[in-house]
């Protein structure tokens, strides 16, 4: 909690902002059913379209931002969000890495627009989908598509306690081993993005026999030149590898560079 709030004894004001996204990440807040009551006692939810109808006014102590920037209007609005936020935290793959909609970064948006809309006269869109950090300074980025409920609470409680959130940036493999899942790459030859993916989900997919999809984006130590041959060994061709890297975190710099490199061959 900031010194100011502590001194004057008022509850910190929380805002939740939405940009281009499916809303899943901000809805995770409402999914914290058991903690909602305690939470509303500790923070004043001052702006949150999904839950309260109060108008946007004044300064917010903690802003949670969901979604990526895909329109000129949003590029402007995010400046306002930053200006009225003491601390700005991005929620999830869209806000942190541009989301799955960043697939447009590899294509011609004008062409899409012409194909999808009968009349595109009212469509004002940018050629790219970019993370919040490409537009304004961000204080903390929470990974995931969607974010993990426990990690969201960790970010909020850490903020209230004035400490750094504990969201380890090592690979999903750490969590997979801690969970006791026999590695599906080793024991079944199933391709898995775990070795290059940021932890946070608790290694959910491998526990159910599915390779990691990379929902939490790149880990703090990716080694693509060593890793991609492993995907190929387990049956992926170039298109498969590119597709595996181009999902929810396609524009995350490490994933983006690796997929472009594959495409060039």
């Amino acid at each position: 909690m900031g010194d100011e709030e502590r001194e004057n004894g008022r509850r910190p004001r929380l805002a939740v902002w939405k940009f281009a996204s499916c809303d899943g990440c901000q809805l995770t807040l409402l999914d914290c059913e058991d903690e909602l009551l305690a939470l509303s006692g500790k923070v004043e939810v001052a702006f949150f379209h999904e839950a309260v109808t109060a108008p946007d006014e004044g300064m917010y102590d903690l802003s949670l931002v969901d979604g990526s920037i895909t329109t000129p209007a949003d590029a402007e609005r995010v400046q306002h969000v930053r200006a009225v936020s003491r601390r700005l935290v991005t929620l999830g793959a869209c806000a942190t890495a541009g989301g799955i909609q960043a697939l447009r970064n590899y294509a011609d948006v004008a062409e899409f627009r012409a194909a999808v809309y009968a009349s595109d006269a009212y469509i004002d869109t940018l050629a790219t989908s970019t993370p919040i950090s490409a537009h304004v300074p961000v204080d903390f980025e929470l990974r995931g598509c969607p974010i993990d409920r426990g990690q969201l609470l960790e970010v909020i409680t850490a903020y209230l306690a004035g400490r750094t959130p504990d969201t380890p940036a090592h690979s999903v493999c750490f969590e997979c081993k801690r969970r006791g899942t026999p590695c599906i790459v080793v024991a079944r030859g199933i391709p898995c993005l775990g070795p290059v993916t940021h932890a946070g989900c608790g290694a959910l997919c491998p526990a159910y026999g599915r390779g990691c999809y990379g929902c939490f984006g790149p880990s703090n130590s990716t080694k693509f030149p060593a890793f991609i041959p492993l995907l190929r060994r387990d049956g992926m061709n170039t298109l498969d590898v590119v597709r595996a890297l181009r999902t929810f975190n396609t524009a995350a710099p490490e994933f983006d560079a690796a997929s472009r490199k594959e495409e060039l061959g």
């Binding site: 903690e35 609470l153 409680t157 504990d166 090592h170 493999c173 750490f174 081993k177």
Partner: protein
Amino acid sequence: MTVGTAVSTVLDRDGLDALITLLAEDGRTVIGPTVRDQAIVLAEIGSGADLPYGWGVELEAGHYRLRSRADGAAFAHSAGPQSWKTYLHPQRERQWTADLTADGDMEVREETSPPPSYAFIGVRPCDLRAIAIQDRVLGGGPHADTRYAARRRQAFVVAVECTEPGATCFCVSMGTGPAVGPGYDLALTEVVDGRGHRFLARVGSPEGEAVLARLPHVPADEETAGTARRLVEEAAARMGRTMPEVDLRELMRETLDAERWNDVTARCLTCGNCTMACPTCFCTTVEDVTDLTGEHAERWRRWESCFDVDFTHLSSGPVRASPLSRYRQWLTHKVGTWHDQFDSTGCVGCGRCIVWCPVGIDITEEAHALDAERAAASGDGEVER
């Protein structure tokens, strides 16, 4: 029967089943090998029926497959994805809780929940040594981990000698197997032949003796004892891997700048799987948890690894930022600096790090390569590969 002598007895499959049931009836959580997720994992077992009778494994670097076995053996599979540290040194454990009192003080309580009383069925000789190594690291010295020590004190250990080493095993090089060393309550050797499926049992502690006395058993006949001995001897000759026969600690010290580290680092994913799978790796970090009220805090400890960049994070950044420095830390710690710290090697030759490395990096191959590079540098081209 005398403790720790050659006096031995024989159990059949029903006898082994009775052992598991009896240990459970005595209030112990019985952990043993069982088949799950296409692997032989360690888990709580309720009876002999949960053991992987008829299952073996095919192992190679970065490769593990279950294979059915015609002989129906229960313990003819080598080290699986987990080790006993899963239970003795759990991946996440609470250390203390703290609450704000009415007068604004902080009341801190150390974790006092009673440690579980385990019985481990099927501890391999290499893993028995790994437990002894963790005893030295965690249970000894001025900063002994009392909760580890309590779990360890209460654990009843049924070791099983190795008669079927895996292609990635090298316990002979490390002096840890395939015959069982000290530290067990009961030791079994599985024998399956024309005379049936049975387990030669030896006693290693008064508690083991008391438990064995309550089971249906017969004195060991010479033939069973002889076959058991022969099977273990033969296993020693069938090791899939070796370490170079040199002073490994010295090898690590003298090759810190070797070119080979670049070679292995180019292949390493820095994923951390090797350290997590290793039965002796003990590293942890702490996580401090607060709740929304701000009046309750907890400290938890969880497994951590030297492959994590944040493992050495200081205010100036990570000490081991490069993947090379992290891979080198792992290998030099295991077989080199562990000696300086704990008076023994940190590797027992179980082969887990080789099998469970997704890209199949093999520490024995790396050690041989470092040895060869050192020999080449000193002008002695003749090296045993």
